[in-house]
Symmetry: D2
Subunit: 470 residues, 4 copies
């Protein structure tokens, strides 16, 4: 893997964003803007399905929302209810067949399904379904759910959805469009976020509230873990399909994935990040001249860190905002350019200074090493790295693309070894108690969050193989 | 529908071409060239699936073969066995989900399937499958076959394919790729063509023999109606999955669809066409100065017609060969340009002459009317139209896109009325006996061909609705 | 050069087609259809410029006419006068800067210029212009003409055009659009064709008459060698800018370049070709069972040849019509596929037969060799090659892309050696007298045609270097 | 103009970025990365020209750098010297003919030229050149310079460049590539920036120093106003082509255009912006709970403003980073979405707070009005707007795309009226003295900066019409 790809892969990655709307004459267009607001959750593919009385219309393709629906593609997506999806681009297997929403027909009509998350028992369920003669055209968990629903014994789709859900284990936020209903639900632990809003007479659901603000919808509440919401002409109906499990919202949604202007389960993302920076500053103070953040996701935390220690916050690293998928990698001769192509140190800010570089997470460590080196070349006399989350030591099975465990630097090295690896004058992580204190949680073992990537304590059973790819 | 589209739609249309190869290190590339040779059978979408030990690779998209596999797309299709497909572009529902081969996995492994034809009982089978919980992601018949195979009770795929086939009614040529086999089969009546060839140690199957010539493979024989051929490392194995039905090969394959250099079931297409022209000339002679054909498909027949009557054959209509899907339709003000944009009369050939215009078929009549008018404007003193097939009066249910019956001009008008409609000085069709005489067949009621579109006598049961689209 | 490219390059190539219209509200759209009809004269790039009162609009790009103007590109080309251009794709230097029409502004207003042909003294004129301070942004002759016009001393553009023309030597058909005039002219020898038509009140000019038929314009007459036609609101005005030179129309326009439905200088292309075949048959008869032509350009000649000798004409070679620029070349392992990918022999036609293969010209000989081999593999017992033009031994300096002289097989080998090279049982060329007899010309030394590529006798001075590329 | 376009056009726009390198084996690739770093200066088109001994290679097209050079486009740009250009996208006339570098040949060889800025006497020079017979293929000033150079009387290009420059008036930074030299120069007032760096033995020039950091080149110094630098195999040679004028660097480079990590003429852009915020805070303090900046360009200034008044700085507005040129505008029914689609207020930050919104400039006022409204909807109790530059009242003639003067709100309204128009509780601008104090300049009338857009006092003659478009 070259320098550049190392940088890109040195973060955890969200796998999807979902959006749904019911009861608005501009359903497809609003879904387009909603997905545009959720684009940070996935840039591989985008898709929208709408329903117009009896007919279901859909379009999905590889690319950004603005690319997939360029031209007059939206015009054919008629109807007053819609579901949309954006999907994260993994390095290798870009595949239009895996683009969502998954659209199919079965004996009870048409169905489109958008899914954020990962089922830990998908492989087992698929084996069971195949033994009964099911075929699989994709490698996504979503198709497993589709088969379960289609095999349901009940006369309504909603009932069959409910029963199917009781078989699923893992993290999932699902938005399902039928010929006359929009169904939204969240896994029993609430691992993945999902929120509800109103827009006039219409209802809207989305992975993050920033989508509501973008289209001018009014936030109502978060969908509850284990809750299934059914929206149709009769209005909104809510029920619980799962008995109350311990809530376990993914902390990384706050740390890195979500947009700072989103509120998730009552907390604003930017404010959480800033507070993480403050707590970290209290835990691991350092004498320094300037505090900088790694753009874009660590800016909030850096501001908090700086405020707490009354050290000036500065813009010490500038990110190029015009990167794209067609970017040409440096040739062999120019590989040393590395991370410079995307990030640049502001020499006048850091030269001759003791610098604190705040970053939200540290996965493989390679980018941090480049950034420390970049700051030193720009004249920093000391570089202290502060990470506003605990060391990532375990893989995620709930919809986050962690590297394989052996690539997680904290699974192999001590903090001191990592500090040496990245070449920092000091390195400190936020600890779990500090992280949870931001949410007002004191008991680490019985809190409302999933910290499995830090602790290895998974809130559900985890099965040997999560992969559906043969 | 405007002038231009009328012209395009004034022919029957084939729905697909299929190709398969087993045992060649360049499987994907040869499939590419094979599909390129079969491109006339479908221009909407193209796709190839290959198998490389355990892994199946596939790519399919809207567009011509050369467009779909532009760049280095072929390189990722590794393996020594391959199946490919080209699909016809209907006016409206271009949809990548319907592109083939259909690729799926089930309990017995991976399977890719390419299908030419149409099942008349697809809707009934789908209803049955849905009642058992199947979901459908496409609107193609092929997915019905996939579900049937997956639900089979036998331990091998080949056995489950055989049983599934016994449930199918209609016209189909299927090429199926599994993890270690290539299966090729043809419907019990042989409605759709399929042929077998060798290329060194490799076996090849294709809808038409022109694909063999293009890749330098050696024709072995046609696949028999009701035959299933299984090719694997052990070699080629053939069996009959259906008891011998009356053979009923589609005559339109000769009249219009196939490439002139192909041989189907023992007859060369070009030579059949030329002979059709000769017979028609004997049946409906005419005093004229020159015989011309409508390019490209009627040239062979026109030559035969001219030879029989010893009237000079001439190139009286020239076709523009640079048309493409992005062609801009004439605006309202220029609609009168009509068919001129694609065909032009050679004034020096037809001016002052009595012209026989030979065409292979006449479906809606609108293009013929334009051409007669074009020839008169170019100075023809008389225009006699000769059609080298009988009047098309009935819809096809076996994989041909006939217009709805009410749009078939021969279903509504007498020959005299049609002559008046198209403005010809005389109009004559080849009759069924004459058509069949070309193949050495005398008994019209018990021949080896399907002439249902002329006679309304279908060689299989026909069910009320053939459409899978809800 | 690989097999495939050898085939493509084994013909001479025209370099351009031009079109102009004045006085029609749909000027751009008609130019689009006109260029579409002229597409065979050049597939590299296409462009249109229109004038709308004071403003000139233009668009040009690499690609076919239908590609360059896909979407709503035509809509911005407003105005009632227009000039268009298609350009031939040479193997290497595809370059949008060289796409035409060349559009520029100068002290007398805006000017768009479309040019078919080649100036033999372009390099000298460019040197002269550069010595006076001119800059050149393209490598096309057209820019030389632009500079000459701009430096003219007269108060009207038309006068400056006339004076500039008197400096040009070579072959050219020029269509020039100014803010209020359309100027069309042809070189003094009439080396390149240009014709005039009317369409209601509008005037149209085009390289070939097939463009008139396509848009429904009425042919008026050919533009005369040395004639300049000026069309404006006052109507059409004609004058001679050059004293009468000996006319020298390029014979290859008839032999290969032009569309069969076009008439050039009074002769129909198809009929000339057919007659060339007849004369050749008389000159070099052969005992054979069947006559075939190499598609598409040699079909007319093959029919004439067959008629003359009363041997059956047959369709023995079929061309794939779906080739495109993105066609993937065979890999090293499959190079033997060669010409098969584009042309296929009809086995049932040629097997066991003595075959005459008629071709219009033979430049490098490589494709002919492949075709002879292809026919033998398909079972032909004898293959006799007949070329309906004399041996090409000399380069063209008037706008045709002949290979370098050392690549012209007839410049290096005798007919017997060529016959051996291509593996034919016999090979014969049409001689010059025979070729000219088709046009009713008897005196070879004083005829109205340019045969320089056969004879080396150029109708103008030829300068050492014709290339503008440094 | 709709809501969305109003937002986009509510800033001044830079027109170009230039880059050059001499003496590096990876010249094209480094130019690509350099242009990538300068992409913020222009997103309409990009181009690179290289020279490889005698041959000049170039490619330019519409689009971002990463789009224009996607695939293997860079590979053909061989050579060790290169010049590159990015151009700003104005709303209407996107035109590949205007893309740079302008490449041409003339009697002294090949020349490629990249130009940032605007000549105020371009129209006069063009008139003069046209009267001598020059033709113009573009509407860019650059072509005027090309003609002047080509008409020069001296034996070397460098001498002709020098003489040509003495005729130019206005703002320009030019990088010129010849067959063996790289020439870089800056206008006599230094209106547009240009800097010099080294990279091993190679020399590099660029509009901004961020390009040097990106490729790892070492900053040497700014090019001086009126200086011409000639780089060839003999090394670097500098001379003054203009007597020392009063320096007049564009202040808007600091206020808005340049990247924060660039240093221009000795000042770091981010630090200048922060200081502008501080000075403004001292001049126009306000009681408030939180200070926010409009992303991205006003963040630095907002931090400075907040620090000075010891009010917390917060991230109150979040910008969507995935916008693209294909973004679909809201339909009529959804126009009220307006600025929301691109910017979102963080409700938890601003609700119930007195907010100071810092922006770098205010041109038409429409976006500011939307943002004030957005903040109020998100619960802000007071919104105070602070602009870190003086009111823009005059058009720029030196390469900045100011709106027409009648669209500049400050040219028509008083500050009180503007405050009312945008709906703010208070509005204050930085005054000129305050702005200049940041640079240590006291005497406003005799400083080293161009403030003409604020003051109307232009540092050069200004001619009636600057437009080259007829």
């Amino acid at each position: 893997m070259d320098e550049w790809m190392m940088h890109c892969s040195d973060k955890l990655h969200e796998e999807c964003g979902v959006f749904g709307i019911f009861g608005h004459p501009q359903a497809a267009q609003l879904t387009y803007y909603g997905l545009y607001a959720l684009q940070h959750r996935g840039q591989e593919s985008a898709g929208i399905a709408t329903v117009d009385g009896l007919t279901m219309h859909s379009h999905r393709a590889m690319g950004l929302v603005t690319e997939v629906f360029a031209g007059n593609r939206l015009e054919s997506l008629k109807g007053t209810a819609s579901v949309g999806h954006v999907r994260y681009s993994t390095a290798g297997a870009s595949n239009v067949a895996n683009a969502q929403p998954l659209v199919f027909s079965f004996r009870q009509g048409n169905l489109a399904m958008a899914h954020n998350g990962n089922l830990v028992n998908a492989r087992q369920l698929q084996n069971h379904l195949e033994s009964q003669g099911s075929i699989f055209q994709t490698t996504s968990d979503t198709e497993v759910v589709a088969h379960l629903i289609a095999r349901g014994a009940f006369p309504t789709i909603a009932e069959n959805v409910r029963v199917s859900l009781s078989m699923l284990k893992g993290g999932f936020a699902l938005v399902i469009l039928t010929d006359d209903q929009l169904i939204a639900l969240r896994d029993p632990q609430g691992l993945r976020p999902l929120a509800l809003a109103r827009m006039g007479d219409a209802y809207v659901v989305a992975s993050e509230t920033c989508a509501f603000d973008t289209i001018g919808a009014e936030f109502v509440r978060d969908v509850e873990p284990g809750e299934m919401i059914i929206i149709d002409k009769a209005g909104l109906h809510s029920e619980r399909y799962a008995s109350s499990a311990k809530k376990a919202l993914c902390t990384f949604e706050y740390i890195y994935f979500a947009r700072p202007d989103s509120d998730i389960d009552g907390f604003n993302v930017h404010m959480v990040r800033k507070q993480l920076g403050r707590v970290l500053a209290r835990q691991t103070p350092v004498e320094a001249d300037v505090v900088i953040g790694v753009p874009d996701s660590s800016i909030s935390a850096a501001i908090g860190f700086a405020e707490e220690l009354a050290i000036p916050y500065e813009i010490g690293l500038i990110k190029n905002k015009y990167s794209g998928r067609t970017f040409i990698q440096p040739s062999q001769d120019l590989r040393s350019l590395g991370v410079r192509l995307k990030l640049n140190a502001v020499r006048k800010i850091v030269a001759g200074k003791r610098v604190v570089m705040v970053d939200d997470s540290l996965v493989r460590g390679t980018t941090s090493a480049r950034l420390v080196s970049l700051l030193r070349e720009a004249g920093a006399t000391e570089v202290h790295v502060r990470i506003t989350s605990p060391p990532v030591k375990h893989s995620c099975y709930y919809g986050i693309d962690t590297s394989a465990r052996e690539e997680l630097i904290a699974a192999r090295k001590t903090v001191e070894e990592i500090q040496e690896f990245i070449g920092a004058d000091s390195l400190a992580y936020l600890d779990e108690e500090g992280m949870l204190s931001v949410f007002g949680v004191e008991d680490v073992t019985h809190h409302g969050f999933c910290n499995a990537c830090f602790t290895g304590k998974y809130p559900t059973d985890v099965y040997p193989s999560r992969s559906l790819e043969r």
